[in-house]
Symmetry: C2
């Protein structure tokens, strides 16, 4: 009865959505939620009920917090300056508690299910569903001997996968960023719609995309005790390296064999790519250069080559990338695509790190593609554009 | 950089999970979150950071709120009495703002992405992943001429779907409750694992399960204006009926043709079932009795036959169910299964309504199955058990 009552109340709000002053409920809202709402310039109004709170803020990560103002009805409201088009994570801070906005769907980022808002980019339809054949996204569960656990991954299958039952497809492994999970490329990134549209226009080959859960811990290793160890301490770095290695082992020893035996893949290196954003870009560089026998296309979206980007040392072509770039001619033959991307408005350390890597690769005569996303930061609009540029270069 | 920093902090918590006093982090937590945590009796500890709040509560819907206590470190804590095994929605109320717990994954319920906690049922493995062949769950998007919009649905494909490419399968349409959405039967209900296990043991036939989004609004109808109309008013009832009809039309005119042309279904009434929980049970009764040409198996899980269950009038076999039960012999021939279930601890109005319907059907000599889930309320543990009893009776 309780739930039926709730349903009725929600139906009421479902029928209530208004459109005052050109503001529309965000596409990322739960149904029936009138707030947050966005106008044609990306200006956004937020509203939340918190009758007994003394301070409520909207928190766009890495930006100054937006103060909300209490209204007489117990709701707090605030209007943002115009937001950059694309997807933005945000949270509300209610008397010190950082929580999601009940009006927004949640998206896994920052290590939790958190609010997000989509600001339309008026000229862009490439990441929206269009009247073209649609691939399906499937959830798979596989048992990993590496982690000793059931693991969940998402797989995009191109539109003709079900009907062309004799056709086998190349595979792109596509990784989320730190604090995100395997759902990010679909829910935040719209990778499925991007590929649907690219395939329909003939820009991309039909391909399978596998999105793995980017964290792993080996079942046969005790947890490292890093209690009280500071950020960047040797103990924490070691724990992170162990986790990165466990992910690499899970991907190559558990997930890839599962994918190749359960889906109609072409299971050789010429038909296998890997790319990832931020932490996923670093994972991509680690996994692919450890396994050039398995991969021949490599993409780093706002993240690549760990210390080379984030540290301050120079590229050493003889030893870096496991020596794979020591000979530029051999490298260009072996690696069909090395792709780097970054947003022009990313934090300076990330932007300059990727640019430096790009320049160093140029100096070392290593064939690669460098792409800058204009006006976007370390955010999903950058990575949607990355995928749109990257995917058409695969499996030509 | 920001996000990489976040990732590092999260890695730290990932390696920190402790196990004090027999309490384990709930399986529904985000990774690395030590709270909420559950002991062997279902007793649960909650903890949330809210340094500037003056009152924080845990809200289990329909139950008394649990007061949290502020600690000196700015965190609030509370310990619940033992919770019934299964999945429970909950929220936190921070100075009047009802929000999700950042430590929990979110699940769509009550019209928003909300927190949930899984309390293990120690003797039960039927809804957990086991070492058996696993089906895949796929997300589909279809364009509905009824609603004039792209709609999202989930589909479970049985384990051998990909390899037995000549085999066609019967289909169960399985609906969520009011305030929930198409993800509920997978994320909260574990329908995929339930079917994997039933199919592996030979108890259920392999089948496709389609889970639709249970809300719809016709593109060709103006929104009814129900501003200020009270609950139960004729205007609101009419709006709800329109929405129910739009859902029925979307399901039968858009989704079903999409499913039958894109998946290897057996597309006749003898191989098509529909069931749903709560609001989804009412929808099931509406859709199936309007379309006995399309369905021959019918399941109402804590919800069925609208006014007959929720109202106080008696069954009239001559006119109810569109007259389909006027002749018990003809009905038993035409409808292969009519199934009703309810939890013994559900709110009295729901429990007595379903029991009354069951008794009335008995009196009218209408063949049906009645199942009571012992000790559970209007909640997912009831509906998991319902599916476990219902699915093996399909497509014998």
């Amino acid at each position: 009865m309780i739930r039926i009552g709730i349903a009725v109340l929600l139906l009421s709000s479902f029928f209530h959505a208004q459109n005052p002053g050109g503001f529309e409920p965000a596409s990322t809202n739960v149904w029936g939620a009138a707030y947050p709402r966005v106008d044609a310039n990306g200006k956004t109004e937020f509203r939340v009920k918190a009758p007994d709170a003394t301070k409520v803020q909207v928190n766009f990560w890495g930006n100054p917090k937006l103060e909300m103002v209490k209204q007489t009805d117990g709701f707090w409201t605030a209007t943002s300056a115009p937001l950059v088009p694309g997807f933005h994570y945000y949270t509300l801070i209610v008397d010190g508690a950082e929580v999601s906005d009940p009006g927004s769907h949640t998206f896994f980022g920052g290590g939790k299910d958190t609010s997000g808002i989509e600001i339309p980019e008026h000229s862009s339809t490439y990441y929206l569903p269009q009247d073209v054949p649609h691939g399906a996204v499937r959830e798979i569960w596989y048992y990993s001997m590496v982690t000793g656990s059931w693991r969940h991954a998402l797989v995009y299958m191109p539109p003709d996968y079900d009907t062309q039952t004799k056709v086998r497809y190349p595979v792109l492994y596509l990784q989320h960023g730190g604090g995100e999970d395997e759902t990010g490329w679909i829910k935040q990134g719209h990778a499925n719609f991007i590929l649907d549209n690219l395939i329909a226009s003939g820009s991309s080959k039909p391909m399978i995309i596998v999105m793995a859960y980017g964290y792993a811990r080996r079942v046969d290793r005790p947890d490292p005790d890093i209690t009280g160890k500071p950020f960047g301490s040797p103990e924490m770095m070691k724990a992170m390296q162990e986790m990165a290695q466990a992910f690499e082992d899970d991907l190559t020893q558990a997930l890839m064999p599962f994918v190749d035996s359960n889906l109609r893949t072409i299971s050789d290196r010429d038909h296998r790519a890997m790319a990832g954003l931020s932490m996923g870009g670093m994972q991509t560089f680690q996994v692919t250069f450890d396994h050039l026998d398995l991969f021949s296309y490599i993409g780093g979206f706002s993240g690549a080559a760990g210390q080379l980007v984030l540290g301050n040392r120079s590229l050493d072509p003889k030893t870096d990338f496991n020596g794979a770039i020591a000979d530029p001619v051999a490298f260009a033959k072996r690696v069909h695509l090395l792709w780097l991307g970054v947003g022009t408005d990313e934090p300076a350390m990330m932007h300059s790190g990727i640019v430096k890597l790009h320049n160093s690769l140029d100096e070392a005569k290593i064939k690669h593609v460098f792409y800058e996303s204009p006006g976007t930061s370390h955010e999903w609009q950058t990575w949607r554009r990355d995928l749109k540029d990257f995917a058409p270069r695969l499996f030509p």
